[in-house]
C-alpha cells in the first residue's frame, strides 16, 4: 500500500453543541485501499465525526478535504454524490422491497416504458456478484434474507453509486462469528479494489482482524493515529479509557473489605443466559457486597444486569434468592423479589418525561402495590421528602416535570425510585454516565453507603477505575461471556482488568 495521498482529510475539526464540546481539534485521514478503524468509548465522538464528514452536522472550525480539495457537504445525499457512502448499524433499507430494488433504489435502469425491471435486476445481480454475493436472487424480498445479508445488500447498494469511501458504523454488532467472517471477506475485497473504508466497532478482536490503521478518540478529543500492528491491545484500551484519574472522586474504598463473599449468597445464578444475547454465566452476590461488572461496551455487562432483574427473559439457568429456587422473567417479578434495576438508558427506559418528579419517584413502589392500592398524598410526599433530600436532588421540587431536570438530577430521582422499593439487590447500569462530576461523586457515595447498610449491589460501569474503587469482587465480561472473576485487593488496578480482557482476546 504505497499510496501517499489521502482521499479524505479532516483537520482540527471542532463541533460544539449547547453545553457540550462534542469534538475538539480532531484530525482524521482516510487512504484508498485501507481499512481505517475509528476507536473510542461510547460518547467519544465517533458518530459525531462521521456525521461531520457526511455533512449531517455543521463543523464549527477545521477543514475537510476530499481528494485534496476542501469540501463541505450539506448532508448524506450530497456526500454520497461525491462518492462517500454510509452504512449504519441499523440497516436502513426497505424491508418490503426486493433485494434488487433495494440495491438499485435511485439507480433503476429506465427504458421506453418506465423502469426496465429485467435490466435493473441484472444490474443488481452484477453488483451483488461484485461482492461475491452472486447466489442472492435480486427478486427475493429483502425481509426474507438474514440481517447479515441485508447488511451486505446495504453495502452493495453503496457500491452501485460508485463510492470511493465506504463508512461502516458498527456493522457487526448484531452478527454472529460466521456472518462477521462473511462481511470481512466483502470488506477485504472492496479494500483490494481500492475503496477507502472507515470502520467502527466495539469488538477488539474484529478491529485487529480487519483494520490497517486506527484513530483513537476520547471524550471528543483526538488521541492519535496508529498503524494497527504497531499498537498492542492493552495500549489501545488504555488510550481509549485514558488515564484521567482526576474525575474519580475520593471514595471510601471497598478494598480489603472483602468479607462478605462468604457463606450463602443472597442472589445466586448458575448458567444464567439467553440465546443470541449472552452466554450462560454464573454469578453470586452476597448481602452487603458490591460486585462490579467490568468489560468494554458490548461485552455483555448490561445484558447480564437485565437478565438478573428480568428486564429480558432468561432462557437458561437456575436462580436462587436467599437459597430458594425462583424465576425472574419480568420486571415486576424482579421487583417483587426485591431486585431493582437502574438502566443505562435513562431517556428511553428510565424517566417518564412528561410526569412530575413525584410521579416518577413513586412509580415502581406503586407498580408493586398494584393500581387498586394507590399511595396516599402523604405517603407520596414522605417518599419525595426522604429521597429528594437524601439524594440531594436539585431543585427539590416534587411537582416539576422530570424532563426539565439535569441529567444528574434525573439519575438521582431514578435511583430514588428504586431505593423507595427497599430492594435487597440493586443492579446499577452506568449510574454515573453522562452526569457532572459533583452528581457522580454523590451517587458513588450513595452506592458505598447502601452496601454498608447491607444491600447487595451489582455495579456496571465503563470506567474501570470506578469499578475497581467501589467493588469487592469484579466479574469481567467480554464478547457476551464471562471471562473471569477478580477478588479486589490492594494489587488490583484498572490494568489488571485491561490485561485480562486483552490476553483473553488473544486466545479467542
Amino acid at each position: 500500500m504505497a499510496i501517499t495521498e489521502p482521499i479524505v482529510e479532516m483537520e482540527a475539526i471542532s463541533i460544539e453543541f449547547p453545553g457540550v464540546k462534542a469534538l475538539q481539534n480532531v484530525n482524521f485521514r482516510l487512504f484508498p485501499g485501507e481499512v481505517h478503524t475509528l476507536m473510542g468509548e461510547n460518547g467519544a465522538g465517533k458518530s459525531t465525526l462521521i456525521k461531520a464528514l457526511t455533512g449531517v452536522y455543521k463543523i464549527d472550525s477545521g477543514t475537510i478535504s476530499v481528494l485534496g480539495a476542501p469540501r463541505a457537504f450539506s448532508g448524506t445525499a450530497d456526500a454520497q454524490s461525491a462518492g462517500i457512502s454510509t452504512v449504519y448499524q441499523e440497516v436502513n433499507l426497505c424491508d418490503n422491497l426486493s433485494v434488487g430494488e433495494n440495491v438499485m433504489l435511485g439507480h433503476e435502469i429506465r427504458g421506453r416504458f418506465g423502469i426496465n425491471w429485467k435490466k435493473t435486476n441484472e444490474a443488481a445481480h452484477d453488483a451483488l456478484v461484485g461482492l461475491g454475493l452472486g447466489d442472492i436472487d435480486p427478486r427475493r424480498p429483502l425481509s426474507s434474507i438474514s440481517l447479515a445479508l441485508q447488511q451486505l445488500v446495504a453495502i452493495s447498494r453503496a457500491m452501485v453509486s460508485r463510492s470511493r469511501v465506504l463508512i461502516l458504523d458498527e456493522p457487526t454488532s448484531s452478527l454472529d462469528a460466521n456472518e462477521v467472517e462473511g462481511l470481512f471477506g466483502v470488506i477485504r475485497r472492496l479494500r483490494d479494489q481500492g475503496v477507502a473504508i472507515l470502520f467502527v466497532s466495539h469488538f477488539l478482536d474484529q478491529v485487529y482482524a480487519i483494520s490497517d490503521r486506527l484513530t483513537v478518540l476520547r471524550n471528543g478529543e483526538y488521541v492519535g493515529e496508529y498503524m494497527t500492528p504497531e499498537l498492542s491491545r492493552s495500549d489501545l484500551i488504555s488510550k481509549m479509557i485514558g488515564r484521567d484519574f482526576s474525575t474519580l472522586a475520593a471514595l471510601g474504598s471497598n478494598r480489603g473489605r472483602a468479607v462478605h463473599a462468604t457463606g450463602k449468597p443472597f442472589y445466586s445464578a448458575k448458567n444464567l443466559g439467553r440465546k443470541g444475547f449472552i452466554d450462560p454465566v454464573d454469578i453470586d452476590v452476597h448481602a452487603g457486597e458490591v460486585v462490579g461488572l467490568a468489560g468494554l461496551l458490548g461485552s455483555g455487562r448490561t445484558e447480564l444486569g437485565r437478565l438478573i432483574y428480568g428486564a429480558d427473559r432468561p432462557d437458561t439457568g437456575e436462580v436462587r434468592i436467599s437459597d430458594a429456587i425462583t424465576e425472574v422473567h419480568s420486571p415486576i417479578a424482579g421487583l417483587s423479589r426485591k431486585i431493582a434495576f437502574s438502566t443505562e438508558n435513562r431517556r428511553d427506559e428510565g424517566i417518564i418525561g412528561d410526569l412530575t418528579v413525584r410521579e416518577n419517584l413513586v412509580l415502581a413502589v406503586q407498580a408493586r402495590r398494584g393500581w387498586a392500592r394507590p399511595l396516599s398524598k402523604r405517603e407520596q410526599g414522605d417518599l419525595c421528602e426522604k429521597y429528594l433530600v437524601e439524594l440531594n436532588v436539585r431543585p427539590a421540587d416534587p411537582e416539576r416535570l422530570i424532563k426539565n431536570l439535569s441529567g444528574g438530577n434525573q439519575q438521582k430521582v431514578l435511583l430514588g425510585r428504586w431505593l423507595a422499593t427497599r430492594p435487597e439487590l440493586i443492579v446499577l447500569d452506568e449510574p454515573t454516565r453522562g452526569i457532572d462530576i459533583g452528581a457522580k461523586a454523590e451517587i458513588q457515595e450513595t452506592i458505598a453507603a447502601l452496601a454498608g447498610e447491607g444491600m447487595s449491589v451489582v455495579f456496571i460501569s465503563s470506567e474501570l477505575e470506578e469499578v475497581v474503587s467501589l467493588s469487592e469482587r469484579i466479574v469481567v465480561m467480554k464478547d457476551h461471556r464471562k471471562i473471569g472473576e477478580i477478588v479486589n485487593g490492594p494489587d488490583v488496578t484498572a490494568e489488571t482488568i485491561v490485561d485480562l480482557i486483552a490476553t483473553e482476546g488473544n486466545v479467542a
Binding site: 458518530s47 424482579g334 417518564i352 412528561d354 387498586a372 398524598k377
Partner: protein
Amino acid sequence: MSRDSSRASSESIVTRVIHRPYVWAIVALLLLLVINLGKDPAYLGISVNAATGNLSGNVIDILRASAPIMMIAVGMTLVIATRGIDLSVGSVMAVSGAVSMEFMSTAGGGTVGEALSAAALALAISAALGAVNGVLVSVVGLQPFITTLITMLAGRGLAKVITAGQNTSASNESFRWIANGTVFGFPVVFVIAGIVVAIVAVLVRRTALGLMIESIGINPRAARMAGIRPVGILIAVYVVGGVLAGIAGIFSTASVMTVEVAKTGMAAEMDAILAVVIGGTSLAGGKFSLTGSVIGALLIATLDKTIVFLSIPSSATPAFKAAVIVIICLLQSQRIRALFARRRSGPSSLTPPPRSPAQPRKESVSA
C-alpha cells in the same frame, strides 16, 4: 380532577383554567351560544313545566344530545392516553342498541325487569367487544388502528346479524324513560352520563390507574421497566371504552326505541376523537384530561344543534363542523401559539418556541 386541584392551589381558578388546553373549547362553546343568541335572544331561556317540574329549552336539548358523545369521548380519552385509538365505538353502539331492541321485542312484556336485562346484556356484549380489542392490542400486539378497524367492520356486521338486517323496534316505557325521562327536571341521559363520568374519574384519578395509563402512553418501555404490567391495563382500558360505547348505544336507541343498524353510531368515532382532541389530550398519548373531553363533547353537541338552528343546509353540515374544529385545533397548536406570542412581544425578542423534547440535539452526540 384531583390532579388539577393539587397543583398550585394558590392560583385562582380562573388563571388555572386559562392555562388549560381546553380553554379555547370553552371560548368556542360560548361563541356558538352567542351566535345563537344573536338569532334568537331567547335562545338560552329555560322554561319550567309547572305540572311536572321538567325543564325544557335549547340548553336542555344540548345536554341531552351531549350525553352519548360524552360517553364515547371519555372512553376514547383513556384509549388515546395509552397511545391507542378505538375506531369501533360507533359499531359497538349499534351492537348495543341491536341487542337491547332485539331482546325487548322478543320478550315483549314491556316490564322494568326486561329493560334492565336488555341493558345488562347490551353492556356485557359491549364489554366483550372491548376485551377483544384489548387482547388483540396488548397480548397479540396488533396496532390499535388496525385492530379496532376490524372490530368496527365486524361490529356493524354483528349488529345486522342480531337483527337479521332489519331496523328493529321495541316498546318498553322504562327503557324509553332513559332517553326521554327527567330526574329533578334534568334529562335522565345527562344525569347518567354525569354519574358515569364521575365514576370513571374516581376510578382513574383516585387509584393509580391514571398514573399507569399516562406512564404507558408517555414511555411504554420505561413504564415496563418500572414494573407496570401493560397487558392488564390495556385490556381494562379497551373494556371501559367498550362499556361506555354500549351505554352510548342505549342512549341513542332509547329515544326512538328503534335501532337502525346501518345508521346508529355512524361516524361516532369521529365525534369521540374530536372531542378528545378539542379537550386537549394529545393523540400521541400520555397526559389526558377527562374534563377537557367532557367539554369537547358539549362543544360538539352544541355545534350540531347550532347547525340545525341556523338552518345551515344539511349537505354543508360536515364542512361547517370541520371548519370550526380546524380553527380550535389551530388555536391549540404550540406553533401557532408561539407565533402569536412572538408577534405580541414584538420583533425585538425573537425567542424561538420551546424546543420540542423529541429532538434534543445533545443526546445524539453520545450515540
